[in-house]
């Protein structure tokens, strides 16, 4: 539980950061507050899936999402999610609702994405079970353009079905958008997917969905320095003065030989008396042995 909270916290900060970077530069802080939306939905999955058809999981911290907001530059758009179990065709699986914001400079962006998933029918449940058994792919798709929904292209994404089940079926969407276009959907399990993948059935046959909307980041600008700084630096940054080194670091190569010489001299000086002492001791040792022999 703790780890999941931690993860959601990371997720929160991450997406906040992302959205900050999107909004940054052209709008006020107020919008930033407004944009702080990443649908962590279905946190509390419906106890009885049959009762809540279609599932409209409670949304935290939002009032009524469906009412079009008063501002004239935003409108609500819907697009559908379709899924496929292995080889069969695509069938509707849920609906994304988002707010389309028009900016003064003409661009449009999607915000406030939320998602409602249809409950699995018995047939779909069976298909999913079959997929789990054969370790097949569960595939989803969304239209590439949210405005003219049945557009020419679909964004397809797949995951091994065995990656999804935990307590319930946990799925995670990261939708990469560019204006009204969806470019890619990173679809997968909410956390890690162990390999080798074990066959495991979920306790609850309902989806718990996490969705994140992602726009692109702006690259950091190339640093430009003032001319005098450039003049000082000769390519490799020689202009930056090296910090003052310690005495030892500076002169160790002189000190070590010095220490050697001193040590050498000292040992030589000490050797003089020692030699005499040694001579005496040998004599001393010799003396008793002779006595012993004599005995």
């Amino acid at each position: 539980m703790g780890s999941s909270r931690g993860r959601s916290l990371v997720l929160f900060t991450l997406s906040t950061l992302l959205l900050v970077s999107i909004a940054g530069g052209f709008q006020s802080d107020e919008l930033l507050q407004d944009d702080e939306e990443f649908g962590l939905e279905g946190g509390r999955p419906a106890a009885d899936p049959a009762l809540s058809i279609p599932t409209r999981p409670p949304i935290r911290g939002r009032s009524d999402p469906d009412l079009p907001s008063g501002s004239p530059d935003s409108k609500s758009v819907q697009f559908s999610l379709e899924h496929r179990f292995g080889g069969s065709g695509f069938s509707p699986a849920g609906t994304f609702t988002a707010r389309l914001k028009s900016w003064s400079h003409g661009g449009q962006t999607l915000t406030k994405l939320r998602f409602s998933r249809n409950a699995l029918t018995e047939e779909e449940k069976g298909a999913f079970e079959r997929l789990l058994k054969e370790d097949g792919y569960y595939t989803i798709r969304v239209p590439s353009n949210v405005l003219n929904a049945p557009g020419k292209d679909f964004i397809v994404s797949s995951v091994r079905a065995r990656c999804i089940p935990r307590d319930s079926l946990d799925e995670h969407f990261v939708i990469h958008t560019d204006g009204v276009n969806i470019m890619a959907v990173n679809y997968g399990s909410a956390g890690a997917c162990q390999y080798p993948r074990m066959l495991k059935y979920p306790a609850k046959w309902s989806f718990t969905s996490f969705t994140v909307l992602k726009n692109s980041e702006q690259a950091p600008r190339t640093p430009t320095f003032a001319e005098e700084l450039l003049a000082g630096e000769d390519g490799l940054g020689e202009g930056v003065k090296p910090p003052e080194k310690s005495f030892w670091a500076k002169y160790w190569m002189y000190l070590i030989p010095l220490v050697f010489i001193v040590l050498n001299a000292m040992t030589q000086a000490m050797n003089m008396p020692e030699e005499q002492a040694a001579g005496q001791s040998t004599q001393a040792q010799r003396a008793p042995s002779t006595t012993v022999r004599r005995r």
């Binding site: 397809v156 276009n181 190569m253």
Partner: protein, 982 residues
């Protein structure tokens, strides 16, 4: 005293910055450079009375070169740009070579002896059309001759001394195509003959002094012309009609145009298909190329054509060489298996041959494609002829006196792809004499070297030392060496020839013109694609040779059938060669081998079906085990879609065919109104990463996100997809993507506002470096993206590591939610870039260098440390210790870090790096029109002594030390004895 000396030495060592550059005498030790020109299109012989004999050629690689006729060496050479295609070459004033290039819009004059450009004129051309250059041969020496350039409806007359436009004339507003120009002797007019809309013949009589059209006559021909015409006499032109089955003789005498049609099968009964007129300028003779042979026809007037000779294929015919006032000579070359018969004839008398010679040719050069003839005066004052022959493999030969005087392997100027192969393992049984000889040589060499080191050598000996170093026996051996420096570079040229080059000196070990890649009935327009390693024996390296796989295609369309050929890498023997039943779109070498160590390859055809090669049941069995983990993607540049697939078997697997069906897993659609795909780049499949962790400052660890499935995609704004300057900074942007190709996840997406292509990128380990143009800063930029794995951050906990609760050994799944962080930074870079690569070493321990092919056709090695996104303006102490360079806004270009030192690899197209066995060293092969090979050590050769290390000096030092030891020992003994006697 000794201590002081030692200290002094140490200080010297520390203070001297060790340079990575070469010393002058090290050039050529481990590198070689070869100059080529490409397939010759035009050749002009120039016989200067005083100077040496030379020939000026222009080639398909847009090279203009002057070659020595005696040796084939290049006197001078100019490589024009990739788009500056040379259309025509001529000689003006007897001292200038005039080239017309870029679709007839640029006319240049080059000085013949030294190749300096004398003048250049830019001509206005209305529309891209066939252009014609004609230097008026005026007999009045000293008078300014005019050069006429025809392009569309415009005639430009330029002065040949300074390139000034003398006059300019617009002939017709319709699509005029001038075919022939000729000038009657001793007159002020010239005739310009051409077609309007391929249906009307037109003849203009123009005063060449002022461009005034004196007379103009037109006549339309109802069945149309195919756009080829050959002037056969002063008033008759022969053309082909639109169906290429009728010869149309056109007479334009006195402004009256008459047509006369001849049905070719009436003339030549065995003719079928389509005929082509050969561009030749013989008097009254016409050369027609019908599918099986060349037919020479004599034009005896408007309505009379007569066959004089039929030359069966394969053969070639040269242009006419003015011999005397009335006679022209030309050469006919005809193949007879491996021999070529050369006949030189005069156009006045076709029955007799002036010269008849036969040359023997090795079988790997294919057929003769072009012949140029030249005459000379023999020592006995008779006339001799020499021919310059362009072969099918783009090589160039000079034949004189029935011998091949020289050959140039100019196919190497158009390398398409390359791979490397190890040399054979040294076998036992080397003779004793050889060892003794080499030992003596070795000793002699080292003695010389020692002399050189001690500065005792005379200049002659210095030269001898240099020669020994350059011609080192070791580097040119045909066996595997301990350091892995000796290899074979196997290159595939556009002509369909495979050549093996030795890395020691760049010599061609073997070459083979693949029969299956030659034009044939089954395969009309063969086109080479790639070369891959097919079989690399390790277990049976002593008995089996490695082999390479060559993939080609019959024709340029994606649906054309593929060509598949396996060639022995040591001998060039073709093991297996076939035209496939399916097309080839992608080839994927798999990291799997079958029991005979053949690499498994998947070939994706145009219907996205996957074909497994080799087609053995063993391979299928191995592949089926791994099939659930095989994923592939296709980039559809035109549609702006990237799709990911896995493979599946629909129904029963046909064991004979091994065809698998694609299963679409993911797709990414780039919005076409704002982005177009400009470039994709991936990691090299064989790249080795030594460590997955990066130790950063303060004993911290970052885990690299190392995935073989990373795809880098760069997209640009559609408006800014053209050249630099075609869009304003507001209209231009660039998106960089990192995509996982298994799951189709976008791991990172970043935009660069105001940036534009051309983009070059290189992906390695966990980073991408890409190069583009910044319109706002008016400079080129290089950006780096490094991607790190956050999901392994927990492993930094030592206790988890000790208790075994880490996930370091757990398999990584692409289906897990990626938890990555990205660091990026951009730097200005002065050069524009032609090609980019990264060094590769055997174990991946050595630091990396980027190899950048600059616009000046040199290869620059740039340390990856300069492109570290963690560089900051004031790095902390610990960061400095880590080796982070303080931030600068632009990347430094150190002149010593040019890998190519003083050389240029003209027309640089690719840089290939191969690891040597020695960890510190990378082999670098760069190719374009020229070839350059060297080996570099990005972190210097820390694991071996350099080649010029003097072992003799070391020995001498040891001997001296031992001697000194003995002497001092003896001295001390004596002294001790004296002490004791005291």
């Amino acid at each position: 005293m000794a201590i002081r000396a030692c200290l002094g030495l140490m200080i010297l060592l520390f203070s001297s910055t060790i340079s990575t550059a070469l010393f002058e005498d090290q050039v050529g030790l481990s590198d070689w450079h070869q100059k080529y020109i490409g397939k010759v299109k035009h050749a002009i012989f120039h016989t200067q009375k005083t100077g040496r004999k030379r020939v000026v050629v222009s080639t398909e690689e847009n090279v203009l070169a002057s070659l020595d006729l005696r040796t084939g060496n290049i006197f001078w050479r100019h490589v024009l740009g990739k788009i500056d295609c040379i259309d025509q070459v001529d000689i003006a004033l007897g001292k200038y070579v005039v080239t017309l290039s870029s679709g007839g819009s640029i006319l240049r004059a080059w000085n013949l002896p030294d190749g300096q450009m004398i003048w250049e004129s830019i001509l206005q051309v209305s529309a891209p059309s066939k252009s014609l250059l004609h230097a008026l041969a005026n007999m009045n020496v000293g008078k300014d001759n005019l050069i006429l350039v025809f392009g569309g409806s415009l005639i430009h007359a330029l002065s040949s001394t300074d390139g000034q436009i003398v006059w300019r004339k617009e002939l017709s507003t319709n699509s005029l195509e001038i075919q022939q120009v000729f000038q009657p002797r001793d007159s002020d007019i010239f005739y310009a003959l051409g077609f309007i809309d391929s249906s009307e013949f037109v003849a203009y009589y123009v005063n060449y002094k002022n461009g005034e059209v004196l007379q103009q006559s037109k006549a339309s021909f109802k069945s149309g012309f195919c756009g080829e015409a050959s002037l056969s006499s002063n008033d008759v032109v022969v053309a082909l009609d639109a169906s290429r089955t009728y010869l149309v003789s056109i007479s334009f005498r006195n402004g009256v145009i008459t047509f006369q049609q001849t049905y070719i099968p009436d003339l030549i009964p065995e003719f079928s298909g389509k005929a082509t007129l050969l561009p030749s300028k013989y008097n009254g003779i016409l050369a027609v190329d019908i599918a099986s042979s060349i037919v020479l026809l004599r034009v005896k007037g408007v309505n009379e054509l007569e066959i004089i000779e039929k030359i069966n294929y394969p053969s070639a015919i040269s242009d006419a060489l003015p011999f005397s006032k009335e006679q022209q000579a030309f050469a006919i070359l005809q193949h007879d298996e491996s021999r070529i018969h050369i006949k030189v004839k005069f156009d006045t008398d076709l029955t007799n041959e002036v010269l008849k010679e036969t040359i023997q040719l090795d079988g790997q050069r294919g057929n003769v494609e072009k012949v140029f003839i030249n005459n000379y005066i023999r020592t006995d004052r008779t006339h001799g002829f020499r021919v310059l022959v362009v072969m099918e493999d783009h090589s160039l030969l000079l034949v004189q006196q029935g011998e091949i005087v020289w050959t140039r392997e100019d196919g190497l100027a158009s390398i398409v792809d390359s791979t490397t192969s190890e040399l054979p393992v040294e076998k036992e049984g080397v003779s004793v004499a050889e060892v003794e000889h080499s030992l003596f040589e070795w000793l002699k060499g080292h003695f010389l070297k020692l002399k050189g080191t001690l500065m005792l050598a005379s200049p002659d000996e210095v030269a001898a030392i240099q020669a020994i170093r350059l011609k080192s026996f070791e580097k040119n051996q045909m066996t595997r060496d301990h350091n892995g420096f000796r290899k074979l570079i196997i290159v595939l040229t556009r002509a369909g020839k495979i050549l093996a080059l030795h890395t020691g000196d760049g010599r061609v070990v073997w070459s083979v013109l693949l029969p299956v890649l030659r034009e044939s009935e089954t395969c009309g327009n063969p086109f080479v694609l790639n070369v891959y390693q097919w079989q690399v024996p390790h277990h049976r390296a002593m008995h089996e040779n490695p082999s390479v796989l060559v993939i080609g295609r019959c024709g340029h369309n994606f649906d054309a059938p593929g060509i598949f050929s396996i060639v022995d890498a040591y001998t060039g023997k073709v093991h297996n060669s076939l035209v496939l039943e399916h097309s080839v779109r992608h080839v994927m070498p798999l990291p799997l081998t079958d029991s005979t160590e053949q690499h498994l390859h998947i070939v994706i055809d145009d219907n996205l079906h996957a074909h497994l090669y080799p087609k053995t049941s063993d391979a299928v069995k191995i592949f089926l085990d791994e099939m659930p983990n095989v994923f592939w993607y296709s980039v559809e540049v035109g549609k702006n879609i990237i799709k990911g697939y896995s493979l599946e078997i629909k129904g029963e697997l046909d064991m004979a065919e091994n065809v698998f069906q694609p299963k679409e897993l993911w797709s990414i659609v780039f919005p076409s109104e704002s982005e177009t795909i400009a470039l994709t780049a991936t990691r090299k499949m064989n790249e080795i990463v030594h460590t997955q962790a990066k130790i950063v400052a303060d004993q911290d660890v970052m885990y690299k996100y190392i995935s073989k499935n990373i795809l880098f995609v760069a997209t640009v704004a559609p408006k800014a997809s053209g050249e630099i300057g075609s869009a304003t900074p507001e209209e231009a942007w660039l998106y960089a993507y990192l995509i996982d190709t298994v799951s189709g996840r976008i791991l990172h997406r970043v935009s660069h506002q105001g940036a534009q292509g051309p983009i070059h990128a290189v992906v390695s380990e966990n980073w991408v470096v890409y190069h583009y143009f910044n319109l706002r800063a008016h400079r080129h930029e290089m950006s780096v993206i490094e991607i790190y794995d956050q999901s392994r951050e927990d492993n930094k906990d030592v206790w988890k590591l000790v208790l075994g609760k880490h996930n370091l050994t757990a398999p990584i799944s692409s289906y897990s939610k990626p938890d990555v962080t990205v660091k990026s930074q951009s730097y200005f870079f002065i050069h524009s870039v032609k090609s980019m690569a990264v060094t590769a070493t055997a174990k991946g321990i050595t630091s990396k260098q980027l190899l950048i092919g600059t616009i000046g056709d040199q290869v620059l090695a740039l340390d990856k440390r300069f492109l570290d996104p963690r560089r900051s303006a004031n790095p902390t102490q610990s960061e400095k210790e880590e080796g982070i360079i303080p931030l600068t806004d632009s990347l430094p270009i150190v002149p010593q870090s040019y890998v190519t030192h003083a050389l240029q690899v003209e027309g640089l197209r690719g840089i290939v790096t191969t690891p040597a066995k020695l960890e510190s060293t990378t082999l670098v092969f760069s190719y374009g029109v020229d070839l350059f090979f060297t080996r570099i050590a990005p972190s210097r050769t820390y694991d071996s002594l350099t080649e010029d290390f003097s072992y003799a000096l070391l020995l001498l030092t040891i001997v001296a030390l031992v001697a000194a030891l003995l002497v001092t020992w003896a001295l001390s003994e004596r002294k001790e004895l004296r002490e004791k006697w005291r």
